[in-house]
């Protein structure tokens, strides 16, 4: 019996050591900083190249997460002290206007500058988007202007709303997350900008957006435990919860309220009013 115990103990110990030792060969793996992203533009300058990445193969109307990096051809290295800024500009036939956008930061990867732009409209034959990039390369200020193509969302779903609120202010509201909705309580995120001038779109803070997802194909079925989108000062986004009880087409009915809980846009969904004038659409 004692012998058996010993054998057993040795067996367990050996298993433990084997499993421990296998953990040790943890050689650092080269992580690709643009893993999973698609390079949509590459601009060759004299002594450097600029690469523009996105998750999707095209820039679309709405919220776009964009990553930018610059390769110094002299050192053949990606640069981590660019301090870049950017400005998207729509050149229409009679006027031009900018688009809401964030700052570019390299918080996650030192050589990859990330930010987002909310395009309000698509490019067409006579109207086009230009993205102006300003950055420092080896102490020298540079500017590059890229002609970019923005298309209507391929899925045809409404995920961006440009509207005038009851306070006579123009707003841009764009859907950010969930990118892959699930039958679950999803973390929902949106961004809200105010159009101060044609060129200035500051983030709107401390408003509230109510969420009421509905399935028009199922007698306007709704889901429980949704949470209003509340301003998150850290991310400058509006965060809340979106419950989806099944896959399919959902219309997320919204209402925008200011700090005083006054409704600026959108209506409650009732029997008589099956949808709000402010909404997003998703399909999965």
């Amino acid at each position: 019996m004692k012998k058996l115990t010993y054998i057993f103990a040795i067996l367990i110990l050996s298993i433990l050591t084997i499993s421990c030792s296998s953990d040790d060969d943890n050689t650092p793996v080269e992580i690709n900083p643009v893993e999973g992203l698609i390079m949509i533009y590459e601009i060759e300058a004299t002594d450097h190249t600029i690469q523009i990445y996105s998750k999707k193969p095209n820039l679309e109307v709405g919220y776009n997460e964009i990553s930018i990096r610059v390769k110094d051809l002299a050192s053949n290295q990606f640069v981590s002290n660019l301090s870049p800024s950017w400005m998207p500009m729509m050149h229409m036939e009679t006027m031009e206007h900018a688009a809401p956008h964030s700052m570019l930061t390299n918080a996650e990867e030192s050589t990859v500058y990330k930010g987002h732009i909310v395009f309000q409209m698509a490019s067409n034959a006579t109207e086009f988007w230009e993205l102006t990039l300003n950055y420092n390369l080896n102490g020298v200020a540079k500017e590059e202007v890229v002609n970019i193509q923005v298309i209507e969302p391929i899925d045809g779903l409404k995920k961006t709303q440009v509207f005038t609120g009851s306070d006579n202010t123009r707003y841009v509201l764009a859907y950010v997350n969930p990118k892959e909705p699930a039958v679950a309580v999803n973390n929902m995120q949106a961004v809200l900008y105010k159009m101060e001038t044609m060129m200035s779109f500051p983030v709107v803070e401390n408003y509230k957006i109510t969420v009421d997802p509905r399935m028009s194909g199922m007698g306007n079925h709704s889901s429980p435990n949704n949470e209003d989108l509340i301003y998150n000062a850290l991310t400058k986004t509006y965060d809340g919860k979106l419950s989806l009880t099944m896959t399919g087409y959902w219309k997320i009915n919204l209402k925008l309220l200011n700090e005083n809980d006054e409704v600026l846009k959108g209506e409650d969904v009732t029997e008589a009013n099956p949808e709000s004038s402010l909404f997003f659409e998703i399909e999965f």
Binding site: V183, M218, L244, T245
Partner: protein, 679 residues
Amino acid sequence: MKAFISVFPFKGRLMGNLLYSVFCGMFITPTFAQEMPADSLKLINLNEVIVISASKQLNHQKQRKPLSSLDEFLESSRSIKMVKRGAYAWEPTMNNMASERLVVTIDGMQIFGACTDKMDPITSYVDVSNLSEAQIGSGQQGAAYGNTIGGGINLKLDKNNFRSTGWTGSIESAFETNNAMRVFGGEVNYSDEKFYINTDAIYRKADNYKAGGNEEVAFSQFEKYNFSINSGFKLAEDKSVAASLIYDEARDVGYPALPMDVSLALAVIASVSFKQDTLFRNFSNWESKLYYNTIKHTMDDTKRPNVPIHMDMPGWSETAGFYSQAEIKLTKNHFLFKMDGYYNKSYAEMTMYPANSDEPSMFMLTWPDVRTKNLGLYAQNYLHFKKASLKLSMRLAYHSNTVADEFGLNSLKIFYPEMEKTKTRFLKSISAQYHNMWNDFHLNGGLSYGERAPSVSEGYGFYLFNSFDNHDYIGAPNLNTESSVETNLSLTYDKSIFEVGISANYFQIFNYIIGEIDPSLSTMTIGADGVKIYKNLDYAQLLNTTLSGRYNITNAFKLTGQISFHRGVDNNGENLPLISPVSYNSAIDFYRNQYSASLSINGAAEQVNYNASYGETKTAAYATLSASFGKRFFLQDNDLFVKAGIENILDTNYTSYTDWNNIPRMGRNYYLTISYSIN
């Protein structure tokens, strides 16, 4: 007593101690007992046995309708009422409690239906051709088969069991006029002292039936095949192995009371078992079985007109399990010990196709791959006294439910963000049943306690539509265990030609599980009135009383009758749904010189106590009259048996409290059954 424990060999000391502490309460030595009456085992049993066995000529004569469905056999029982959603797959209820509160097994095997809408009670996966009898235990008397509140039904398979009958066979056919039901069946058996094999097949096909007044009930057709084979082999004089396999397939089954039909309900039920006459000297009748069954169930709405949205709703249920049991027979004690366990996987999904075909289909998991594990220990003891006996029984079970599918778990977390993947319970049952006899009077009385875990639908169902109350139901994973305290009492005066008995049982059910409206939730099903969530009520009360009698007028004529009263209320005094009104039946049977005949009446009073919030309406009083005639012919060594009958002679158009959405029952129906058996 020590001697007994020491021969308890398996699982060492821990198990021994556990069993000891559990069962020691049963070792009450009846010091004043002298000799036990030979048939006391039968006397104590409140349990009922319905003899089914279509194959035995003897029984054919006693049965009014030999090739009727199993559902009809069960309905003929004193204690069972069948909930009907159409002409097929009725759901048994006992003591006014349905599937969730009952344990229904086939030859001791646990099987669970694969339909989220209860369209496939497991009684629909066997046929009378497979079965010898249905053993019915009311309340905790059914705990031998599993955890239950309302009772247990065990459907016993028909086996030749090493009787030296040699080759036997029979062919049977029946026809019913009302729904043009055709039944064809046959069996071939061989049995000797060392080996037996039983095979049978049955086929049923029916068109729509007509309610009283020639009113056709659309979508009440069905078609079903059932094959079974079971065989045994003696390894030695006291050892044998046996195996059984049942294949059951129903297609094109209409459910007139529901918005959907069934295109396929398929079950494969298999087992192997081992039997030994003795075990470790003191034990006898040791029997162990391993089993597996799988069910696929597909709902279908493609044949229904005006469907608001077309949907597919397939479901699967798979169960593997075992049991092992042995007895100890002493002069004054008769013990039965049983260890059993099962593992079930229940998975069901729903895909809806929107009218706008550009939109993606809508998908949800209605049963999120729930894995149920149950491991139980059961023990009972009959204590025999001079004129009395006492049956003590106990079941302890470990029960756990796990949501195995991430998609399903996340779906439920919409409602229960804090829910855990696994919920474990410990289920207990204990019961004492006493019988005493003074001259021709028999007194039976019992007190018991039992618990059950919520069913898969009650715990984990996701937007299950109930067409009865027109609500969607959401399961509640954190429901409390339902428990019941039950008492029963019966007094019978039994003379050979005359018998009259009165019996009553009362259930005080704590944490009674039922759906409650949550007005904040939005319906999923188009046209539904609301959403209900399963909740525990503080308690509910159920009372069942029966007065029954038998009188043998002459040797040939027998008169029987029964009237019963039921009541069920919740803790607010509100009526519970699906509680029987006063119901009665009476029959006069004749049997002489191979001729048999019967005339019977079945009826119920107006349903005074009903609950509209569960979709019930007051069903009116009704009574139906039926008759049957039979004759047995001997053709050399073989038997030809012919039976004909009329049901609902007056073509009454009626509906009872068990008829889902008040669909009317079958009107006048003539039937003819012919069986020819070759000995």
